[in-house]
Amino acid sequence: MTVDLWTMLTIAAMGVVTYSTRLGGFLLLRNRHLSPRTLAVLEAVPGCVLISVIAPRFVAAKPAELLALAITLLAAWRLPLLPTVLISIVATGLLRHFL
């Protein structure tokens, strides 16, 4: 296990790509007049990506995973971040162990 050149290059590429997304919208879109439709799309974007990234959880094969997701969903709906994370970890760990 050593520090690897390809790993370094990949990390650097990720950094460049990510910074370009941070800077790009700011530079290219800042002087545009945004229509209500564009604003509606704008508001939906982060949620669309977040839900897409965790979508695999919703089609997990094991019942323990789906039950853990349901508990996490319920906690997230009602509770602040920290209790949600703790409940989620404990419920998932227990369900994986016992189911």
Binding site: V17, R22, A44, I51, S52, V53, W77
Partner: protein, 235 residues
């Protein structure tokens, strides 16, 4: 206009750091999991926090670690990083009108640490106070960046000692955080309809296509839905 006197920068920075604290506590388990999973996938314990500090976008780092091979597929990971982070384009655009007064030499480096949390918190703060506070934003970001790099590093060192973190359910912390972020962004069912479209497209894509295409198809479908469902243009 001039009744909005900016508070001293140091006080604003501390206010940002203080208010981001609950978010930092929630970040810790996620950072630990990322560090541990990265090492399990073949990262050197130094490389994991390096990725966290250089890239500083957790979602894309989980995707990268998920797709990691030895040696890594640079192009695939770069494209997926872009797809996961393309929301920054619109976040940056939404931020732009609020930071017109701030010179480029300050805002360009500040944008390096724009992530979901720093963006959302500083925007909410700007709405509440009537002006965007750069030091407040930097206080948010400093807390986030240091905590992320530090605990990804700790996770990378501890991971091999603790063993299989998934067995204990730690990987679900990531989902929990995303769901809480979604809850925070929820305004109404009508506004959230594109999210359901994203989910309905991303989930089957995940089952059918390898790699992280589900992120791309789900996000794209959601955007198309948001565009089509949006209120009619008034010209």
């Amino acid at each position: 206009m001039s009744n909005l006197q900016p508070a001293p920068a140091a006080a604003e920075f501390w206010r940002g750091l203080k208010e981001v604290f609950p978010v930092l506590i929630g970040m810790v388990p996620i950072a630990l999991v990322l560090g541990a999973q990265a090492v399990a996938k073949g990262f050197h314990p130094v490389e994991a926090p390096l990725m966290g500090g250089v890239n500083f976008a957790g979602g894309s780092e989980f995707v990268a670690v998920g797709l990691w091979t030895t040696p890594p597929d640079l192009l695939l990971i770069a494209v997926m990083t872009f797809l996961v982070n393309c929301r920054h384009l619109l976040m940056g655009a939404a931020l732009a009108p609020l930071v017109r007064q701030i010179p480029a030499r300050k805002i360009f480096p500040a944008l390096y640490v724009m992530c979901d949390e720093t963006w959302a918190m500083s925007l909410a703060d700007a709405r509440k106070r009537g002006m965007f506070s750069l030091p407040y934003y930097l206080g948010n970001a400093a807390g986030m960046w240091v905590t992320w790099v530090l605990f990804v590093g700790i996770g990378a060192v501890l991971g091999p000692i603790i063993g299989d973190l998934e067995r204990f359910g730690f990987d679900m912390a990531f989902t929990a955080v995303f769901l809480v972020l979604l809850r925070g962004a929820w305004t109404s069912f009508t506004a959230a309809r594109p999210w359901f479209v994203s989910l309905a497209v991303a989930a089957p894509t995940y089952l059918i296509l390898p790699g992280a295409w589900y992120v791309a198809t789900g996000a794209t479908a959601g955007l198309v839905a948001a565009f089509l469902l949006a209120p009619r243009e008034e010209i």
